[in-house]
Amino acid sequence: MNVDRILEVLREQEVNFLLIGGMNFMLRHLPLLTFDVDIWIDDVPENRRRCARALAQLQAMWGATDETWGPVDGNRSEWLESQGVYCLMTPCGALDVFRQVAGLPSWAECRNRAIASATAGGIPFLGLCDADMLRCQYALPESQRHPERVRHLETLTPPVPDHSP
């Protein structure tokens, strides 16, 4: 997987996004292996269009069904409006695009407190702050949380209200 390339293309296409999930945790904290890149995009029409262009450039594959799975390049322009999350495959690796994230306030609010960082290859990115990463975990059913991630984040952040479902 070339995560640098994914982040680079998103930046080239001026997509407003935050890195979330395991990759954000791995890059900023502990080397726990994760297999997908998760991004949360600012869910406004112009940003969705930029994101669709970036995904086409990355030669991403996706389909609404197994039968329609294929390159996203030829999709109608509004294909990123139909659901809250898209799990795509690119030659650079698996990429999950979220339009909404459970347990968090607005994208803009999280963007304001996001942490600027960079990969070892020097590609800059904005990632969810530690407290928001923890909120994401608390929003999951306990069986789906990542205990090691939660334990580590709890040592770094002031107590965050647990809104377990």
């Binding site: 890059l27 297999f35 799975w69 698996a94």
Partner: protein, 82 residues
Amino acid sequence: MTEPLSNQIRSEEAKRERCVDPRERWRALQETIAWADAQQKPPRNSIQSCLERQRRLVAVLSRREPAEIRVAEDRPSFGSHY
């Protein structure tokens, strides 16, 4: 977007697993491991890291009683505990 997000994520991930060629997925996973390793400073496979790992393992062995080591050596080995 009426379906709960957690259900959407599960069904989207399952669809991707069905639709992606397993060989392509495996290639991507191997590259992920290599890329993730390259993010560590210093990388896990650097001389510095290997020597540091060796130093930790030797320290653990030296703390064990000789009898304990002999018993451990007599047992069939199914892989490293480290």
